[in-house]
C-alpha cells in the first residue's frame, strides 16, 4: 500500500485518489451481499482502505455485483452502472456472475455478466469469505496502477455490443442509449465477433 508516499501523490494524484477512496454503491444485488456488512463494519473494517458504502450510484465508483443476477435485477444493474460517474470499476463477486455458478441451468438468471456490463475483476467462490473482498480491492489497486482497470472505457468504445446484447435479452429498453449508437449493420457485426 503506497498511500503514504507523498511523491506519488504529487505525480499522479488522480490514480492515487481513485485507489484509496473507493466508494461502493450499496446495491444488494444477490445472496452475496450477506458477506458485505461484516466487511464494512467493525469485524473486518474496510474503512481503513478507504472503502465505504454510499447510497446512490451518482456518488460511487465501485460496483460489487454480489451473487447471482436474475433477469429482473439485471435491468437495475445496468441502469445503476450507467448512472455511475466515470471512472468506475465493477467487480463480479461469487461464481454466478462468472459462469452461472449454481444456477447454470436456470431460465431466469444471467450466465455471463460480461456480455451486459464490463467487469474489471472476478472473485470465484460460493460465497467467498469476506477477506476475498480485500483481495479484490488490493487487486483492483494493482490494475489501476497499471491502467488496466478500463472497464468503463470499454463500455464507451464497444457500447453497440453491450446495447445489442441488452436489447436481445429485454426487447426494447425504456432508457435511451447512453452513448450514440451506430447503425444496425455495425452492431450485428460486433455481436458475431
Amino acid at each position: 500500500m503506497d498511500r503514504n508516499k507523498l511523491v506519488k501523490w504529487f505525480k499522479e494524484p488522480a490514480k492515487m485518489g481513485h485507489k484509496y477512496s473507493l466508494h461502493a454503491v450499496y446495491f444488494c444485488t444477490g445472496c452475496g451481499i450477506i458477506e458485505v456488512p461484516p466487511v464494512i463494519t467493525a469485524r473486518w473494517d474496510a474503512e481503513r482502505f478507504g472503502v465505504i458504502p454510499v447510497a446512490t450510484p451518482r456518488q460511487a465508483n465501485l460496483f460489487l455485483i454480489t451473487g447471482y443476477v436474475s433477469v429482473k435485477t439485471l435491468k437495475a444493474i445496468i441502469r445503476t452502472y450507467e448512472q455511475m460517474p466515470e471512472p468506475k470499476f465493477s467487480v463480479g463477486f461469487g461464481s454466478c456472475p462468472v459462469n452461472g455458478g449454481m444456477y447454470w441451468d436456470s431460465y431466469n438468471t444471467i450466465k455471463h455478466l460480461d456480455k451486459y456490463i464490463p467487469v474489471d475483476g472476478w472473485i470465484a467462490g460460493c460465497m467467498p469469505r469476506p477477506e476475498a473482498i480485500f483481495v479484490a480491492v488490493t487487486h483492483l489497486w494493482t490494475l489501476i496502477d497499471k491502467d488496466m482497470a478500463d472497464g468503463y472505457k470499454k463500455y464507451r468504445e464497444k457500447y453497440n455490443y453491450y446495447r445489442a446484447n441488452q436489447e436481445q435479452l429485454f426487447g426494447k429498453l425504456e432508457w435511451p442509449p447512453l452513448f450514440p449508437v451506430g447503425d444496425k449493420h455495425e452492431r450485428l457485426a460486433e455481436r458475431k465477433s
Binding site: F27, T56, P57, R58, E174, W175
Partner: protein
C-alpha cells in the same frame, strides 16, 4: 407645475381610456400605459418641491387642499410606479376576457384614488379619495365573478366599517377644532388631553388597521387577494393595503406628533407598546398560516398580512431607526409582493389559470425569467443579505435590541424563518422539481410580463446593495416628523452603535462566488442529463408522479396546525350569522304583506284607545 395637474391627469386619463376603449383596443392599451407612465414621470419630477394649495372652496363650508411633502412624494412615487408596471403586465393578462374597458377604467381609477389620498391636504378630500379607492377596489376584486363575489363582499363590508370609524373621527375633530386642514390640525392638537388623543387614535387605528389588515382586522385579505386578477392583486397587496400605513404615519406622527404618541400611557401599558405587540403577533401567526396553504395566491396573501406587522412594529417603536426601518419596509414589501403576484400571474396566464401548488412543478425549465423574478422576490421577502428586505429588517431588529425588547425581536426573527419555509415551498412546488407532461411545451411569459418582473427584481437588488438611495428620502421623512437625522450614506447606515455596510457584503459575496467558480473549474465539466435520468433505485423514473409536493411540511403541520385556526375569522363569521339571524327575525315582523301592516295599525290604534279610555292621558 401644480399638484392639481397630477390629479387631473390621473382621473382624466382613467375616463379617457374607458371612452377610447369603445373605439379601439390598441389605442386604449397605449393610452393606459402612457397615462400611468406619465404620472410616474411627473411625480419623479416633483421631487423635493413642497407645495400646498387650495383647489376648491365651499364644499360644505370647508376649503379642500392638496399638498405635497416628502411623505406624500414617497408614497406617490411607489404607487404610481407599481401601478404603471401592473398595467403593462395586464396588457396580455386581461386580453380576451370580458369587460376589459371596465377593468382598465377601474385600475386607473384605483391609482387615481390612491394618488388623491396621499396628495390631500385636508381630511375631507382624504375621505373622498379614500372612498373612491375603496369601491373601485371592490369592483375589481369581484371582477372574476364566482367566489370573487363573496370575497369582494367581505372586503367592502369591513372597509365600510373602517370608513365609518374614520368619519366619526373626522367629525369629532371638526367639532373640537373647527378646521380639517391637516397642517392646522397638527398645531391645534398639541394642546389636547391624553384621553381625547387616545379616543382619536383608537378610532383611526380601527379605520387604518382594517385597510392595513392588522391582526384582528385581517380576515378580508386572503380571500380578496386570491380571487382578484393577478395584476390587481399586485397593486392591492403592495400599495392599497399600505394606504393604511400612510394613514398611520400621517396621523400618529404627522398630526399627533411623536411625543404625544409615545407619551400615552405608562410602561407596559402604553399605547405604542401594545401596538408593537399587535405588530409582533401580526408577524408570527399569518406567516405560519401561509406555510400551510396549497394555493399559491393565498400563500402570498397571508404573507401580505404578515409583513404588515413589521411596518406596524417599526412605526410603533418611535425611535428614528424604527421609523425608518418600518417606512423602508413599506416600499420593500411593495416591490417583492408585487413581483411575486406578477410571477403567479404569468404562470396562471400560461397554464390557463392553474394556481394549485400541488399540480405544478419544474417550470424553471420552461419559464426561466419568471423563475429569476420569483427567486429574487422570495429572497427579498425572506430578507437575504443584498436584497432590500434585509436592510429594512436589520434596522427594525437593531432598534428592538438596542431598546431592550428581546421578545419582540424574537417574534420578528421567527417570522423570517416562517417566511423561509413557506417561500421555499412556493418556489419548489411551482418551479423546481419534475415538470409534468402536460406542461412540456409551455411557452415563456410574453415580453410585457417579463418587463415588470425584471424591473422589480432590479429594484430589489439595487435597493439592497445601495440602500442609501431610498434611505436618504426616508431620512427626510423622519426629520420632518421631528426625529433626529441618521447618518445615511450610499452604502448603508453609519452610527456609533454598529454600522451596516452593504457594499462590503456585496463585494465579499461576489468575490467568493468567483473564487468558488474557479475552484469548480478544477473538476471536469458536468454532463447534462435529462429529468428522466434521476436516481430511482434502478427503476425508471415514474413520469408525473416523482414530485414531492403534497403535504410538503407534514411533520410540522401535524404539530402546529391546531394552533393556527383563524379564530378571528370564525368570530366575524359568527357575528355575520347572528346579524343575519336578527334580520330574519325582523323579517317575520316586516313581512311586506300589506294586510299585516293594516292589522298592526289597527292594533296600535286599539291600544291607544284603550289607554285613553282607561287612564285619560291626553
Amino acid at each position: 407645475m401644480s399638484v392639481e395637474l397630477l390629479l387631473i391627469v390621473a382621473f382624466g386619463g382613467a375616463f379617457l381610456t374607458y371612452l377610447l376603449g369603445k373605439i379601439s383596443y390598441k389605442l386604449r392599451d397605449v393610452v393606459a400605459v402612457l397615462v400611468s407612465c406619465a404620472l410616474t414621470a411627473l411625480i419623479a419630477y416633483l421631487y423635493g418641491k413642497d407645495m400646498e394649495e387650495t383647489y376648491y372652496v365651499g364644499f360644505l363650508g370647508l376649503p379642500l387642499l392638496l399638498r405635497l411633502n416628502t411623505l406624500s412624494w414617497f408614497f406617490a412615487l411607489t404607487l404610481s410606479a407599481v401601478g404603471a408596471l401592473s398595467i403593462i403586465f395586464s396588457l396580455s393578462y386581461i386580453r380576451g376576457k370580458e369587460r376589459t374597458d371596465f377593468y382598465y377604467l377601474m385600475m386607473l381609477l384605483v391609482n387615481a384614488g390612491m394618488l388623491g389620498i396621499v396628495l390631500s391636504g385636508d381630511f375631507v378630500s382624504f375621505y373622498i379619495f379614500w372612498e373612491i379607492m375603496s369601491w373601485s377596489a371592490f369592483l375589481l376584486i369581484s371582477y372574476n365573478r364566482g367566489p370573487a363575489l363573496a370575497a369582494g363582499m367581505k372586503y367592502i363590508i369591513m372597509s365600510v366599517v373602517g370608513s365609518i370609524g374614520m368619519l366619526i373621527g373626522i367629525l369629532s375633530l371638526y367639532t373640537s377644532y373647527g378646521t380639517l386642514i391637516i397642517s392646522e390640525l397638527a398645531v391645534a392638537i398639541a394642546s389636547a388631553s391624553p384621553g381625547y388623543i387616545l379616543f382619536l387614535l383608537l378610532l383611526f387605528f380601527v379605520a387604518f388597521g382594517i385597510k392595513n389588515a392588522v391582526w384582528p382586522f385581517h380576515t378580508w385579505l386572503p380571500p380578496a387577494h386570491s380571487e382578484a386578477p393577478s395584476p390587481f392583486s399586485a397593486i392591492l397587496s403592495g400599495v392599497l393595503v399600505r394606504m393604511g400605513m400612510y394613514g398611520f404615519l400621517l396621523f400618529f406622527y404627522g398630526i399627533v406628533g411623536f411625543r404625544s404618541f409615545l407619551g400615552l400611557g405608562r410602561g407596559l401599558l402604553s399605547f405604542h407598546y401594545i401596538l408593537a405587540w399587535i405588530g409582533a403577533i401580526n408577524i408570527v401567526i399569518p406567516t405560519f398560516i401561509a406555510m400551510l396553504q396549497n394555493d399559491s395566491k393565498r400563500l402570498l396573501a397571508w404573507h401580505g398580512v404578515g409583513q404588515g406587522g413589521y411596518m406596524v412594529l417599526g412605526a410603533a417603536m418611535g425611535t428614528p431607526l424604527g421609523l425608518i426601518g418600518g417606512t423602508f419596509h413599506i416600499v420593500n414589501h411593495t416591490s417583492y409582493i408585487a413581483l411575486l403576484f406578477l410571477v403567479v400571474g404569468a404562470v396562471e396566464y400560461r397554464t390557463n389559470g392553474v394556481r394549485d401548488l400541488n399540480s405544478l412543478g419544474g417550470l424553471i425549465k420552461r419559464m426561466p425569467i419568471t423563475f429569476i423574478g420569483a427567486l429574487v422576490g422570495a429572497c427579498g421577502l425572506i430578507g437575504v443579505p443584498l436584497t432590500n428586505g434585509f436592510v429594512s429588517k436589520w434596522l427594525i431588529y437593531k432598534t428592538l435590541i438596542l431598546e431592550r425588547y428581546p421578545f419582540l425581536a424574537f417574534a420578528a426573527f421567527i417570522g423570517s424563518w416562517g417566511t423561509i419555509l413557506s417561500l421555499y415551498k412556493f418556489l419548489h412546488n411551482m418551479f423546481l422539481g419534475q415538470l409534468p407532461e402536460k406542461y412540456k411545451d409551455l411557452k415563456k411569459a410574453p415580453f410585457n410580463m417579463q418587463f415588470p418582473i425584471l424591473i422589480l427584481s432590479l429594484v430589489i437588488i439595487l435597493f439592497g446593495v445601495l440602500p442609501g438611495i431610498p434611505l436618504k428620502v426616508i431620512n427626510n421623512i423622519g426629520t420632518s416628523f421631528g426625529f433626529e437625522s441618521l447618518q445615511v450614506n450610499i452604502w448603508g447606515i453609519a452610527s456609533e452603535t454598529g454600522t451596516l455596510n452593504t457594499i462590503n457584503i456585496f463585494v465579499a459575496i461576489a468575490a467568493a462566488c468567483i473564487i468558488v467558480w474557479l475552484i469548480s473549474k478544477a473538476g471536469k465539466r458536468s454532463i447534462r442529463v435529462s429529468q428522466a435520468d434521476s436516481y430511482a433505485a434502478g427503476a425508471s423514473v415514474p413520469v408525473d408522479r416523482y414530485h414531492y409536493t403534497v403535504d410538503f411540511y407534514n411533520p410540522l403541520y401535524r404539530m402546529i396546525s391546531p394552533f393556527l385556526r383563524d379564530y378571528v375569522d370564525d368570530f366575524y363569521m359568527k357575528l355575520a350569522q347572528w346579524t343575519r339571524g336578527i334580520g330574519n327575525g325582523v323579517r317575520r315582523v316586516y313581512t311586506g304583506d300589506v294586510g299585516n301592516y293594516v292589522i298592526y295599525i289597527l292594533l296600535f290604534l286599539a291600544l291607544l284607545i284603550i289607554v285613553q279610555v282607561r287612564w285619560s292621558v291626553w
